[in-house]
Amino acid sequence: MKLKTVLLATALTSAAYAAQAAELTVMSWGGAYETSQVEAYNKPFAASKGVTVNMVAADNPATPIAAQVEANNVTVDVADVELSDAVRLCDEGKLEVIDHAALPAGADGTPATEDFVAGALVSECAVANIVWSTVVAYDNTKVSGAASIADFFDTAKIPGKRGLRKGAKANLEMALMADGVPASEVYATLSTPEGVDRAFAKLDTIKADVVWWEAGAQPPQLLADGEVVMSTAYNGRIFNAAVAENKPFTILWDGQIMDFDLFVIPKGAPNKDLAMEYIAYATSAQALADQAKYISYGPSRKSSAPLVGLYQDGKTEMGPHMPTSPEALKNALTNDFEFWADRDVELSEKFNAWLLK
């Protein structure tokens, strides 16, 4: 009799489990960043909901998403994209609208719409999960006395090759900041033809010494190989190289450019409701703070900041390594997605033409 009950119970629970065992497909960027998301979001979410969460990587998830929606054949439920792509895809009707009011309240009870940092909820189709930044990093065994973004553009003061991303974005802003434009006026300056010329003129001063990179993992490699002495880079990659692999790299926070990564749901996603639940879970204050245990990207909620603890090695305090730390914010710029959505085509062409010269 007892055995029978146990069997029955097992049969019932497994039937219920089978009914629930939906699958969710999340698309992200691969590398250490993806690992941090798997650890902080996917594993606990899968365990608590009894679902399978698949993680797939793409060079830039916005591309396959756009193609899938265009072809009306969507397989991805949640994607991690950059702000300008989120805004653009949202305007093009390729994303589902996300009800921001339905997101969980912050750790201190603040409603979600207040808890997120400014700009994190700017698109009605997206919820930001991290703040990342483009920074200048250098090899501290070869470079000394680098104090400001201007030094990056000063090959007389600090001789040696520079690494820059092969694209207009971030480079133009950094060039202007190095030329003395205050962070608050960078985009206003860049909106004028003279401002653009000024930025390119500043880039001209180091053009001959630049090694161009394209993928985020290249700058630490170029620094490690000695191909460059200073490079622009994504702060998380430099943190990983410096802390996890003990490379002698230092980040120069002066003139950093902050940006968001956001979760979106492609239009026609197979498991839209589950995707919504996933996003609500992943952008809760605790989950965001947990992610910081694996990578030095800042949580997008204010109430997550006090919850951020130690790096997974158990000894490195993460706070100072965040782009949002007070030290890092002294002279920081936030990427203006409207500006780039409008001017990307033109400035990219200009940049490409400039490269050809």
Binding site: D59, N60, A62, T63, A66, R88, L89, C90, D91, E92, G93, K161, K166, V210, V211, W212, D225, G226, E227, E338, A341, D342, R343, D344, V345, E346, S348, E349, K350, N352, A353, W354, L355, L356
Partner: protein, 414 residues
């Protein structure tokens, strides 16, 4: 009455029987080819055709702004936008904003007129509140709406077929007057890149010929046993993964790489003056020459193999010096090989993507990299298709020349 028609054994006219037999044979041969032909046409020719058609058809604007499209159709080019036009615009904007297609419309116009993306998206947000007279209220929202360039771009995008992506691919831009004109110097990219692609391919082809000719000559004149051993040195790179070869050139040529380290170690150059051989044109040229060299050697070799040695002997015995013999007797006979190898290398070089992407840096990338950029980063697929069509046109022209010179059914490998 004698029958003049030749007949087969069973009494049918021979001519008809032969015709039938040859028709059967033709059909049989065709049936053997048909499965593959169908496969290639469906999985290759048609998809490429469809992709290229994107370069002239982009309905992001025309499908989402129907009333304005109707107005453009009713009014010929040059008509000043009147109240009806602005009313249609306001209605379409409201509609597109509600349907969430305003972004596609904005992206489409922004390709032609930079900075108009936010003009559309912000107008979409406010369009509901617009009231007649629309001309005044729309322009009051943003004076840009009154500019001829915006209207020219919209008219241009409202057509079923558009040339604007080819215009962009040829570095032509909409001017303030609303006509396509040569873009300013600092915005010209693609023609220069096409030029660079052709120039680099020509350099690589020339280097391949320069290096391939002596080697092919040596291989062709050695006895078989020795030459097939040396042939392995040619074929090994040919068979080795492209990525492996590109990687090893990176290892060899980068600034802290083996070549520079050796030269510094030997004291030939100083530590500060290391050669920059990677992430620039030099890197692309060296790596591509290496990768394409076998494609030059193999056709040269197969031609040189057929040249009888008695011709050169005859020339020598008639008093020609070895140089004259080489120049006037040997080289002319190898011209078919030079043509075949040269065109093959050139065709392959023009479409190269992987190697320039890895070792090209800023100055060593080719048009293919720009196509990939528009495919994967900027998501401007129509422009990517236009660039691809132009590249394909160049390659097909060369293919045609190759067919004329060598005949495609004479292509040989290894």
């Amino acid at each position: 009455m004698s029958d003049t028609i030749l007949r087969t054994a069973d009494g049918k006219p021979l001519k008809a029987a032969l015709q039938r037999a040859s028709a059967v044979a033709r059909r049989r041969a065709f049936w053997l080819v048909l499965p593959l032909l169908a496969f290639v046409v469906i999985t290759f020719v048609v998809p490429i055709g469809q992709m290229l058609s994107r370069s002239v058809t982009n309905d992001a604007f025309s499908a989402n702004m129907p009333q304005l499209v109707a107005w453009f159709e009713a009014n010929p080019e040059g008509t000043e936008p009147d109240e009806a036009a602005f009313a249609a615009l306001a209605a379409d904007l409201t509609n597109a904003a509600a349907e969430r297609t305003i972004g596609s419309v904005a992206t489409r116009i922004n390709y032609d007129v930079s900075g108009t993306r936010s003009l559309f998206t912000s107008a979409g947000r406010k369009a509901k509140k617009l009231e007649a007279p629309f001309k005044e209220s729309v322009v009051a929202m943003d004076p840009k709406w009154g500019e001829p360039i915006v209207w020219a771009a919209m008219r241009n995008a409202s057509a079923k077929l558009t040339t604007s992506f080819y215009q962009a691919a040829m570095d032509r831009k909409l001017s303030a007057k609303g006509v396509f004109e040569k873009a300013p110097e600092d915005l010209q990219v693609y023609l220069k890149l096409f030029g660079r692609t052709l120039a680099l391919s020509a350099v690589v082809t020339f280097l391949c010929l320069l290096l391939g000719y002596p080697v092919a000559h040596l291989l062709a004149s050695l006895p078989m046993r020795k030459s097939s051993l040396l042939m392995i040195l040619v074929l090994l790179p040919f068979w080795t993964s492209l990525l492996v070869r590109t990687t090893s050139w990176m290892v060899l040529l980068q600034e802290q790489g083996i070549l520079n380290n050796t030269l510094v170690g030997l004291g030939i150059i100083s530590d500060e003056n290391r050669f920059a051989l990677m992430y620039n044109q030099a890197g692309t040229i060296i790596a591509m020459t290496h990768i394409l060299l076998p494609f030059m050697i193999l056709p040269l070799y197969s031609v040189m193999k057929t040249i009888p040695v008695s011709y050169t002997r005859a020339a020598r015995s008639l008093g020609a010096t070895s140089w004259t013999t080489f120049r006037r007797i040997y080289v002319p006979q190898t011209v078919p090989g030079i043509g075949a190898g040269g065109i093959l290398v050139f065709i392959l070089a023009v479409g190269y993507y992987i190697t320039p992407a890895l070792v090209g840096g800023a100055t060593g990338t080719l048009i293919s990299n720009q196509i990939a950029f528009h495919m994967q980063d900027s998501l401007n697929w129509s422009l990517a298709a236009a660039l691809a069509a132009m590249l394909l046109g160049a390659v097909l022209a060369l293919y045609w020349v190759y067919d004329r010179l060598v005949g495609i059914d004479n292509m040989k490998l290894g």
